[in-house]
């Protein structure tokens, strides 16, 4: 039950019109995303893990440490759970300067595990120029950066983030995501991240749990979950495949970089990262086309041999989602029902997938 390096959450909470009941096991490292439409219970679940809901019943154990077991009437108070919580509205203390907000958790974290140092977090989130300001003098994005830093500096064993980007407008969001990606790459703390934005799932998730109406629909690694997510109305064509890859070589003369991944080789527009760096390529289903034979001459650089895993019709749409297997890596393609019929798509079929180089993104 109290397994090492997993986060086990088995919680029940009754509301007047709604019941949250789910049993979920999340990996003890990396970013796990709780995904679902608003009102599905994902924030309630996160608050349950943090111990902020006194009426939550069930079990919470984090990497071998039990935080809640209501059958044994055991409830570790929030202040003694080694968590960092990032609130949707940042919840900075308005009477304290940024520096004092950051120090609040640090001072009370004595005796907790070693975490990222003050200097490191300041650098990571670019906070040096903001230290002497009061929260009211910060923009939304800056507030959220301070909120994340404050949580990280309390040396948490688990970082909980409740839609940290939801209150930011699109432009700030775009500037903010790279910070989160940096955190993802540089810190070892497991993160549980709540969102209803497909974009954030694709860019940040290692593991995804899909929630609906207080229950768990499915959970798994991002690669496993993408086909499930792509079927969800609303996720739509924004879903895609995320392929982890390594930069093999740069060809500045041609303006391209060569990537290696489990399923082969990809060409993308010249990247700025150094050779050997790891990147996540995102491939939209609508940018993948299929053909029965390898095209002899094509302007498309990336042509890869694939086999069809499954063909799924999308509700209320003229398109079907084809799940392709690329030597173990999953790729999704969106084609019309007509093409699907004419190509006679069926599981096990061998095809060639063409991916436009320009649609590959970090």
């Amino acid at each position: 039950m109290a397994n090492r390096s997993v986060i086990r959450v088995d919680l029940t909470r009754d509301f007047d019109t709604f019941r949250l009941k789910l049993d979920l096991t999340l990996p003890g490292q990396g970013v796990s995303i709780l995904f679902g439409s608003s009102g599905c219970g994902k924030t309630t679940l996160l608050r349950g893990i943090a111990g902020l809901d006194p009426e939550m019943r069930g079990l919470v154990s984090v990497n071998g440490e039990v935080w809640l077991d209501t059958r044994l009437s055991y409830r570790l108070p929030t202040c003694r759970r080694a968590i960092g919580f990032v609130f949707q509205d940042a919840a900075l203390f308005p009477h304290l300067r940024v520096r004092e907000n950051l120090a609040y958790g640090m001072q009370r974290a004595a005796g907790r595990q070693e975490g990222p140092g003050f200097k490191h977090v300041l650098e990571l989130l670019d906070l040096e120029p903001l230290l002497e300001r009061f929260p009211e003098k910060l923009s939304g994005g800056e507030m959220q950066r301070v909120g994340i830093a404050r949580a990280l500096l309390s040396q948490p064993k688990l970082l909980l983030m409740d839609e940290p980007l939801a209150s930011l407008d699109a432009t700030i969001k775009r500037e903010f995501l790279p910070y989160l990606e940096r955190l993802h790459q540089e810190l070892q703390i497991p993160v549980i991240y709540v969102t209803h934005a497909p974009d954030e799932v694709l860019r940040l998730a290692d593991f995804v749990a899909l929630l609906d109406q207080g229950g768990l629909i499915a959970s798994g690694s991002l690669e496993e979950m993408l086909p499930v997510l792509a079927m969800k109305p609303g996720f739509g064509d924004g879903a895609g495949t995320v392929v982890p890859a390594r930069i093999e070589a740069h060809y500045p003369k041609d303006g391209v970089s060569e990537l290696r991944f489990r399923g082969g080789r990809l060409w993308v527009p010249l990247l700025s990262m150094s050779e050997g760096a790891h990147v996540r390529c995102r491939i939209f289903p609508s940018d993948v086309s299929l053909s029965v034979q390898s095209p002899v001459l094509s302007s498309v650089l990336n042509v890869l041999p694939v086999t069809v895993d499954s063909v799924s019709e999308v509700e209320d749409s003229a398109r079907v989602i084809v799940r392709l297997n690329l030597n173990g890596t999953v790729l999704l393609a969106s084609v019309t029902r007509k093409s699907s019929r004419e190509l006679d798509l069926r599981p096990g079929q061998a095809l060639y997938a063409q991916i436009k180089a320009t649609t590959l993104a970090k």
Partner: protein, 233 residues
């Protein structure tokens, strides 16, 4: 003594006694009122309404009604009277101690209500955030709630103080009119007026008026400063 003194020695005694009562009562009220208001602001207990109504009663009742019941219950046949007698304190009516107890009950809503609305106005996320950062409930109360309630605390203390200074009817009923023990400034002014000593009444009243105005001026000025400090009213 050709020229009558502007303030009689009795006046000075009454002023000092009034200040002593108001300071004592305000201190006790803050100690009682803060936890009481915090509990009322956060609880979902079903007795909450009843307790709020009980605390607010002095706002509605004529002081003579409250004074009458307090006099009875503090007297030799009342429950408070039995208790104080058993504790070896004697009976409370017509003593300074009796006035302190009475004033606390009478001024409690003036302290609890502003505090309660201040506490209610604090974003509960901030207290949750403090807890996630490792602060115990007491720690969060002292480091987050109290500093954010500064203006409410000040308002509550000033209102409690001012209301105690301004009592008249209930002071007369419970305290009587014993110089140096229970004769407050408000009663002293009444006595002067009854005795047609208008000069003394003027001076004493003028001092009360000026004092009240200065206290309120300080309160509003300080609160305005605070708004500038971090933009909250």
């Amino acid at each position: 003594m050709d020229v009558p003194a502007l303030l009689t020695s009795d006046d000075l005694v009454a002023l000092a006694l009034t200040a002593k009562l108001a300071i004592t009562v305000t201190l006790i009220l803050m100690v009682l009122g803060v936890p009481c208001a915090w509990w009322l602001a956060r609880t979902r207990c079903r007795w909450k309404g009843g307790i709020e109504a009980l605390i607010a009663l002095p706002l509605f009742l004529p002081p003579s009604v409250l004074g009458f019941y307090l006099l009875l219950s503090m007297g030799p046949h009342g429950p408070i009277g039995h208790l104080t007698q058993w504790l070896g304190m004697g009976y409370l009516p017509f003593t300074f101690g009796g006035l302190v107890v009475t004033s606390i009950i009478y001024s409690l809503p003036f302290v609890v209500q502003p505090l309660q609305s201040t506490f209610k106005g604090i974003n509960p996320r901030l207290i949750e955030a403090a807890a996630t950062l490792g602060a115990s409930p007491w720690d969060a109360f002292v480091t987050i709630v109290l500093p954010l309630s500064r203006s409410g605390l000040m308002t509550a203390a000033v209102l409690g103080f001012a209301h105690t200074v301004g009592e008249f009817g209930i002071v007369l009923m419970i305290g009587g009119n014993i110089p140096g023990q229970t004769r407050m400034a408000s009663v002293q002014i009444y006595d002067h007026v009854e005795a047609m000593e208008y000069v003394h009444a003027h001076w004493l009243s003028g001092i009360m008026l000026l004092f009240s105005f200065l206290v309120l001026l300080a309160l509003y000025t300080l609160n305005a400063d605070r708004r500038d400090l971090w933009g909250r009213s």
